[in-house]
């Protein structure tokens, strides 16, 4: 989300980097598969180290040594904290406090998880997070798909102006929005209502995502224009072209936008904290820091584990899509 100026937001900014620097992104629909295959087979053929060099024992040994070390470091850094959290979620509080690195010295405390879920009412915040993420996803798909269609395919006279205006927002740091957007939510122009403590306060601003529009527009520009011309001569209107031709062709880009939307919504903290002040509408990210002081450590760590579960499971299921979205190169197969 544009309104979360956190380091977490840098991830999207980094993906942005990949877009800006890679005009031949394999996201392009038509040539996508071929280019991907070609790239990966070349990648296997050779990298920096040539096959000649690989056949030399000294190089092979040190390269293998470095790679195994790297794998171990990545496993410790990537998997270590998650495994520790999973362990701590079912360990009695006293054991976690006294011997945090010991493995179940006094058995399990399964009730940490059930306590976190029911007693402190995390189920409410969990469902809130799901609703926030789904709403953001739907909102972003509606805005980006229609906007991409207007800017790349319909191209009315004012498309250029709209395009320039939307792109310009990419260059405005999100920090500028914080206060005035908050005041806008408190009193929406023309409607005269306050959206505070409703999910709309998160959903609607999330639609103003220039980066995703840029992605979708690029994707649409690379669809062969002959299809649309043919459909038009057969009398299809712009709505039918959108519904029956553009959307079915857009599956790859819908996947990428969806990943960005759901993950950004799940991660967002500052903006939902500002506009969702009541616990019964707060998502997990806003509620967790407040729990810290008030509940038993074991239950608290179980709550953290529960909040991590959905993103991790989504990542494991859609890892290819995640890594493709993150790298925008598609060269890394999950």
């Amino acid at each position: 989300m544009t309104t979360s100026p956190t380091l977490g937001g840098v991830v999207t900014a980094e993906a942005e980097a990949a877009i800006l620097t890679e005009p031949n992104s394999p996201l392009r629909p038509r040539r996508g598969k071929k280019a991907k295959k070609a790239a990966s087979s070349e990648g296997l053929d050779r990298g920096i180290i040539s096959s000649n060099e690989w056949s030399r024992r000294g190089i092979r040994r040190s390269a293998n040594g470095i790679q195994i070390t790297l794998l171990v470091l990545l496993a410790i850094g990537g998997l270590g904290p998650i495994l520790w959290l999973a362990k701590a979620a079912i360990t009695p509080t006293q054991d976690t406090l006294r011997t945090p690195m010991a493995l179940f010295p006094n058995g399990f405390a399964w009730d940490n998880v059930s306590k976190a879920w029911t007693t402190i009412g995390l189920d409410v915040q969990f469902m809130n997070t799901v609703w926030v993420a789904l709403g953001v996803l739907v909102m972003q798909l509606i805005v980006t798909m229609t906007a991409g269609y207007v800017l790349a395919i319909l191209k009315p006279a004012y498309a250029k102006v709209l395009n320039a205006l939307v792109l310009a927002t990419l260059f405005v740091p999100s920090v500028v929005l914080l206060v005035p957007l908050y005041l806008t939510i408190l009193d929406v122009p023309f409607l005269g209502i306050s959206l505070q403590n409703t999910f709309w306060a998160v959903w609607l601003p999330a639609g103003a995502n220039a980066f995703n529009i840029l992605l979708v527009k690029r994707f649409f520009e690379n669809l062969p224009p002959e299809i649309f011309e043919a459909a038009r001569t057969e009398g299809a209107g712009s709505f039918r072209i959108f519904w029956q031709i553009v959307l079915p062709l857009s599956k790859p880009i819908i996947g990428v936008v969806s990943v960005f939307a759901v993950i950004a919504a799940w991660k967002d903290f500052l903006w939902p904290k500002l506009v969702l002040a009541l616990p019964e509408v707060q998502p997990l990210s806003v509620r967790l820091p407040q729990l810290q002081q008030t509940i038993d450590l074991g239950t608290y760590l179980a709550a953290l584990a529960i909040s991590t579960l959905v993103p991790i499971v989504l990542f494991i299921i859609f890892q290819g899509l995640f890594l493709k979205s993150a790298g925008m190169g598609g060269a890394v197969k999950g």
Partner: protein, 334 residues
């Protein structure tokens, strides 16, 4: 693929109306050849109305939640706003107040220190990791997944988890591990000099995976012929990295650098949750100060100072990016 979108969105009444409206225009067979639309009727027949309906979500959402707040930020930075009486223009008073606030200068220093440390920790590590990973021949996907896992963990959970890891007692997680090799115990985030590096360490861990994936994608784009050519000239592995790999990555390296600076200049989540700016304001950042001005003020939001500081930060970042791209535009071309 298109069908599920309205099915999941019964609540989005504006778009529903929009789509049904376009459906009615569809029933009239509209001649689409005529480009010039001077009077309302030809405009309508040329698809002007459906164009506008497709552009409507973008125009409404960006208008209300992007352009309006951005303009409002600039106006408000010259006003005294308290939501009760009409805003008054006060000239440069808001800016003057911010510059006279001693915490502003502390926050500026801290933010600069955070950005510098984040560059030292966070800029070389993903590059080195990505170059090493690109040479992995077996199970490269495993490396990527492990590297990307920390990015998937919600940032709030990651910070709260690390906050527990950073426990200053001898039974803290990190102190236990370092105790195995006879180091520590360290005070971590409770110490004014050690707090910021500790925070940056977590932030680097959380963000590195995303950058690694971008570099990996860029690395597969390096043409193998360049390495072949370098070998003909007798280059070894190190010289190939220095003379082929790094120059080929120049474009993406330059972009990730400036995006990292822009991101770290707006850091909020980590210092807010780890230390809330302490100990003794040693980790308070600019964005946190904006937050304090606007939302943590016992006298009601000081929106004037908050927007004035936002605007100054945004202008600084815009100027910085402009100068940066001017300076580097010559280098990034291959």
């Amino acid at each position: 693929m298109g069908a599920p979108i309205p099915a999941v969105t019964p609540r989005f009444s504006p778009v529903q109306e929009g789509t049904t409206a376009t459906m009615t225009t569809l029933t009239k067979p509209a001649p689409t050849k005529r480009r010039r639309a001077r009077n309302p009727r030809t405009w309508l027949r040329g698809g002007g109305l459906s164009n506008l309906l497709f552009a409507a979500p973008m125009i409404i959402i960006f208008g209300l939640f992007s352009f309006y707040p951005i303009i409002r930020a600039f106006v408000m930075s010259f006003q005294k706003t308290n939501l009760i009486t009409e805003p008054q223009f006060v000239g440069l008073l808001n800016f003057q107040r911010v510059l006279e606030d001693p915490v502003f200068w502390t926050a500026l220093q801290n933010t600069g220190w955070f950005a510098l440390l984040a560059l030292i920790f966070g800029y070389p590590i993903p590059l080195i990791a990505a170059v090493l990973m690109s040479e992995v021949r077996r199970a490269r996907g495993l490396y990527s997944v492990l590297a990307y896992l920390p990015v998937v963990i919600p940032p709030v959970v990651a910070v709260l988890l690390w906050k527990f890891f950073y426990d200053a007692g001898p039974n803290g997680v990190f102190n236990t591990i370092l105790g195995w090799v006879g180091l520590g115990p360290f005070p971590w985030i409770q110490d004014a000099t050690m707090a910021m590096p500790s925070i940056v360490l977590e932030a680097t861990w959380a963000a590195a995976g995303g950058t690694i994936i971008i570099y990996l994608a860029a690395l597969t784009g390096v043409a193998p012929e360049l390495y072949d050519a370098a070998e003909i000239d007798g280059a070894g592995i190190w010289r190939k990295i220095w003379h082929v790999t790094l120059p080929q990555l120049r474009g993406v390296l330059l972009i990730t650098l400036i995006l990292q600076i822009i991101g770290t200049a707006q850091v909020f989540l980590e210092p807010f949750l780890f230390t809330d700016g302490g100990p003794a304001n040693s980790t308070v950042t600019l964005l946190q100060l904006i937050y304090r001005y606007g939302f943590q003020n016992s006298l009601g939001g000081n929106y004037g100072s908050a927007t004035a500081l936002s605007v100054m930060l945004a202008l600084f970042l815009a100027l910085l990016s402009f100068v940066y791209f001017r300076l580097t535009s010559g280098w990034s071309k291959n």
